[in-house]
């Protein structure tokens, strides 16, 4: 069976022009596949390139070497070579990304933020509204906050809005970068349940979870990114 997401011999380095062009190698020779119903957790020390891999899978970082294959229905697209329009289209239909931080939009309330993500992902307005409320309830965000813009929320509250936003529409590939970093135990458990439901629905999940108990609970496989050093200069 073809994986939903696959990295093929991916290498990434950053050229820091403001630091006399110093080249910072991040990862090399990364080959990894994520299938439907899997939750692959990226392991390895900080700076090993875990977030960079996730960002390349979302088209947020460029992928200068190798290929990032994304299955989109019957076809497979190389994100590394895709045009901006194509990457945006894949984000609407196929790729979901939950980062640690919510980038807030002025004047838009929490529920509307989640709802809009659902509409963008193809849900009818009514379904999006209901599902936004359900998700925020499950994530224990008090209803009195739903109409307020999340700018003034605590880190944990913003994170929960972000999670709801990333989960509302069913997309085949889910990328998660420390989604539980600022959550308490109760809400971590909710997120673990939500991830299990996504897996059961066939979503391919690639994530970073520093929290050991969350990692144990969600991972079907742990891949140590430190192994992807390839021919990279030490």
């Amino acid at each position: 069976m073809t994986p939903l997401l696959a990295f093929e011999d991916v290498a990434k380095s950053f050229t820091l022009h403001l630091r006399d062009g110093a080249v910072l190698p991040v990862i090399a020779g990364a080959t990894l596949a994520v299938h439907s119903g899997e939750c692959v957790v990226l392991g390895g020390a900080s700076g090993a390139g875990k977030s960079s891999l996730l960002k390349m899978a979302y088209g947020n970082y460029r992928c200068p070497q190798g290929a990032v294959w994304v299955r989109d229905g019957a076809r497979v697209v190389n994100l590394a070579a895709a045009a901006p329009r194509e990457i945006l289209a894949l984000r609407r239909t196929t790729l979901s990304y939950i980062s640690q931080f919510l980038r807030v939009i002025p004047r838009v309330g929490a529920r509307a933020v989640v709802e809009a993500a659902g509409i963008e992902g193809g849900l009818p307005l009514k379904v999006a509204r209901t599902r936004a409320g359900d998700l925020l309830s499950r994530l224990n965000l008090p209803e009195r906050l739903w109409a307020l813009p999340p700018a003034t929320f605590s880190g944990g509250e913003q994170q929960r809005v972000n999670i709801a936003r990333g989960l509302i529409a069913a997309r085949p590939i889910l990328l998660m970068d420390e989604p539980t970093a600022s959550l308490d135990a109760t809400n971590r458990a909710v997120v673990v349940d939500l991830i299990a439901e996504k897996r059961a629905a066939g979503t391919a999940i690639l994530g970073i979870f520093h929290d050991a108990d969350v990692r144990e609970a969600v991972a079907t496989r742990i891949v140590d990114v430190s192994a992807f050093r390839g021919a990279m200069a030490a």
Binding site: K55, P84, Y97, P106, E120
Partner: protein, 267 residues
């Protein structure tokens, strides 16, 4: 790096094609062979510092300044793609007041300062041939409400409106004819931040709702991130880097883009 809630570009069709656009002022190249395409419903941000040529680029596209070289082609409402240089002056002006909008940094250049707020909106409607006073007034009132200008201000001239209201009025004036392409030159600069936020949110909502194609010139990378699908980084009249907005801002390749991105204070 979560992208803003943006609409999808509506049709996978090129609306505007800019090729080799060049403008020289004496020895200085204000725009050096700029080229890009813009699709229906696509929002392109042109970023760069003062003097980078980004505002000149907008004037060249709108045909307000004559280019030394290059072309601008546009897919007209009838589906035909025309080189704008081949339009007659009457055709060009008709295009500008119906299918295109231009929201300017300085509202006094985008509005008629001696005409009431309602008149500013109504004038564009009369420009497309509407002569029915009641309908014009009703449409103007409707648009003023959409940009959150209270009905009791409809008879005030822009001179009596605040900076934020003037910009919102410009938006209403431009959008009332249902244009498909809107050019915006620093629409939020010079406003207080709270006023900026309101205006940005309004622009974002209207662009999404109406499926507008937009070229927005801004020096503010946060504005580019909030509003645009793609970004074009300019310096000294040249395009330094271009691509998906969050990719260019989060993984800038060119030295100059890295400098721009790293110079922004995170709030």
């Amino acid at each position: 790096m979560i992208e803003p809630l943006l609409p999808e570009p509506l049709l996978p069709e090129t609306l505007l094609t800019v090729e080799g656009l060049t403008k020289r002022y004496g020895h200085r190249l204000a725009c050096d062979s700029i080229g890009f395409t813009l699709d229906h419903g696509e929002v392109l941000a042109v970023v760069g510092e003062s003097g980078s040529g980004k505002s000149t680029l907008l004037s060249l596209i709108a045909g307000e300044v004559a280019a030394d070289a290059g072309s601008v082609s546009y897919r007209m409402r009838d589906g035909a793609t025309r080189d704008l240089a081949t339009l007659s002056e009457a055709e060009r002006r008709a295009l500008m007041r119906t299918d295109w909008g231009f929201v300017r940094q300085d509202a006094t250049q985008g509005l008629r300062m001696a005409v009431s707020a309602g008149g500013n909106v109504g004038e564009r409607l009369m420009g497309v041939g509407d002569r029915h006073y009641g309908r014009i007034r009703a449409t103007a009132l409707d648009w003023l409400a959409r940009v959150e200008i209270a009905a009791d201000r409809v008879d005030d001239p822009p001179t009596r409106l605040s900076g934020g209201m003037r910009q919102r009025l410009q938006i209403a004036r431009n959008l009332v004819t249902a244009p498909r392409l809107v050019l915006m030159d620093e629409p939020t600069s010079g406003l207080d931040v709270s006023v900026q936020a309101r205006l940005l949110d309004m622009i974002r909502g209207l662009v999404a709702e109406l499926g507008l194609a937009v070229i927005i010139v801004t020096h503010d990378l946060a504005v580019a991130r909030l509003l645009s699908h793609r970004v074009l980084v300019m310096r000294s009249g040249r395009v330094i880097e271009t691509g998906l907005t969050d990719q260019v801002l989060d993984d800038p390749q060119a030295a100059y883009t890295q400098l721009l991105v790293s110079s922004v204070l995170a709030a």
